[in-house]
């Protein structure tokens, strides 16, 4: 019984795992994620957390929660499958890039150099998981009324959120008027900017069911390592040979 009950919040353990990983030689780290779909309740908090963290504009999303219906009435079921970028170990998207603007880091995260990307969207077409989205330069506040001096409208609304620079890849991305990342392919990057300062990815911390486990998958003491060893583990579209670094538990 004692073994079945969690001894501590998985977040605390993941935080400890992360601290330990960051002390390692960066080359020895291999980030990985495990999503326990038995624990996911489909609240979409991870999606919202990710959007808020990365200041994602309309139509751009890194982590969606898929809803699958199973069985036939009246014996029906429903399950939720959060789908971030799967950070494949054999990614089809990086090979597709004609300007090498996207690649896999030594730590195993597939990232995009916004200043190099030409916006051909070939990587979007190449990803079998539809995990990349294109930034078409839209604003949530585009239709908000503005009457200078009279109405506290569009500008104020934009300044309240989306005009804030996104902090992706440890840089400030203030330009939403044509400059990158507008026009670029965008995707989940395991919140590298958070990891750098010892914080877990936004999706992991916002998961109320603790269904998202993140850490160094080469660290045998880490929770993520332990979960990957579970007999319940599987990956999406295994037959494609992309070898995702995001695993699922049935």
């Amino acid at each position: 019984m004692a073994r079945d009950l969690p001894q501590e919040d998985p977040l605390i353990r993941m935080q400890r795992d992360l601290k330990r990983a960051l002390k390692k030689n960066p080359r020895d780290i291999k980030w990985g994620m495990v999503i326990d779909i038995a624990k996911c309740i489909g609240c979409h908090a991870c999606t919202v957390g990710c959007v808020a963290e990365n200041k994602l504009p309309p139509g751009v999303v890194y982590r969606v929660v898929l809803e699958e219906e199973t069985g036939r009435y009246p014996f029906v079921g429903r399950r939720f499958i959060p789908r971030p970028c799967l950070h494949c170990q054999n990614p089809p998207c990086t090979k597709a890039c004609p300007v090498t603007a996207t690649w896999k880091t030594e730590q195993g995260a597939v990232i995009v150099d916004y200043n190099k990307c030409i916006g051909c969207r070939y990587c979007l077409v190449a990803c079998p998981y539809a995990a990349r989205t294109s930034d078409f330069g839209e604003w949530y506040t585009a239709e908000t009324a503005e009457l200078p001096g009279k109405l506290y409208g569009q500008k104020a609304a934009a300044n309240g959120y989306e005009a804030h620079p996104a902090a992706e890849y440890g840089q400030k991305w203030p330009g939403r008027n044509g400059g990158s990342p507008v026009g670029n392919a965008r995707k989940c990057h395991f919140c590298l900017h958070r990891l750098k300062v010892g914080m877990l990815p936004a999706c992991a911390t916002s998961c109320i069911g603790r269904a998202t486990i993140f850490g160094d998958r080469t660290d045998s003491h880490s929770l993520v390592y332990e979960m990957i060893g579970s007999p319940r583990v599987y990956v999406l579209k295994e037959e494609l040979g992309t070898r995702p670094a995001v695993y699922y538990l049935k």
């Binding site: 898929l66 809803e67 004609p98 090498t100 190099k116 030409i118 051909c120 190449a126």
Partner: protein, 409 residues
Amino acid sequence: MNEKFFKTLLGVAILGLIIGTVGLINFLVYGKSTLALGSYIPWGLWVALYTFFLGLTAGAFLITILTYVFRIKIFSGIGPLSAFTVVVTIICEMLIITLDLGHPLRLYRIFITPGFKSMIFWMVVFTTGMLVIYILETYYLLREEIIEWSQDPGIKNRRIYQSLALGRTAYTEEDRRQDHRRVRLLSLISIPVGLFFYGSNGAVFAVLLNRPIWNSTLTPLLFIISALVSGGALIVLLTFMFKRDDTVIHLLAHTIRFLLVVMLILEFLHFFISYQWDVVYIVAALDLILYGHYWWNFWFVHLILGSLVPLYLMVRYHDNARVLAWACFLIVFTFIAFRLSFVIPDQAVYKLEGLDTSYFHERLRTTYVPNLTEWLVSLWVISLGLLAFLLGTRWLPVIQAGRGEEEHV
């Protein structure tokens, strides 16, 4: 071509350019947000148009090879016109695909930080290669007339031809022999470059995993054959309009007829094999083409209007150049339908179950209909190509060149 028809075409091109400019300005000012594309269908009308232009280059490519490499004399009269057609269509092709980029000004990066594993990289390399080859080939094919025009006091804007002649005032027999050698060498080089050009464009689609219609070894082959059909049809049309030669038209139409049948068989095989797999997402994509909202695009525009009717006309009236030209017009005009039914439906199937209900935004949908901006910009590029072609036939000796070429070929 009579003057009245030429002026009508010129008027159409200018009108198209003016109307298209409205869309272009809208697009340049407001950017990519003016497009109907999304992240699940990131390639739309402009990519289809790109593959359309790609096809149109192929007939001219075939003609120049037959003439200058295999020395088939009958086509020598339309050699310069064909080479010039390749130049115009490749420029249109590059223009539309550059506009489609999120950051067109970064295009140079392809040569600075190349991704050698990317099919788009090779596509750009071979497209640029073809453009350079055909600009040089066109120049050497026209050089004799350009030098003549530069010395003719009756020609307007002689200075332009003098600068194009690069200081030459006379064209000797030795120059002619040398230019023919150059043209032959360029045509010879264009064979592997051209085949890789068409093949790599097909490979851009064929290499992608989990793409039911594109991911097939038949795709590059289908690209090459369909390009030869549409490109050949364009050359018949241009020959009829600019340099009517019934013997050439009959022979070319005969070839196109054969290629069209091969293309339809390949297309049938593509569908047949894919249906045999009986995999849900593959069947869904194929069903979209045959029975989806745009079923008429495949059945009526592509199959009936663009294939069966031209085939019937080419068989029934095989010795009537005018009817053959009309048949080829139908092939060229409806070819965009064929390209659209290749490019769009494959993307219009959700790659994961539940994606459609996971996050609501119009750019995260698999429904796509090109909007007015996309059509207007397309019109602008097509009109620009037509205008460049028409003016080229007047300002450059593309019609005059090639006369009496048979003996050299």
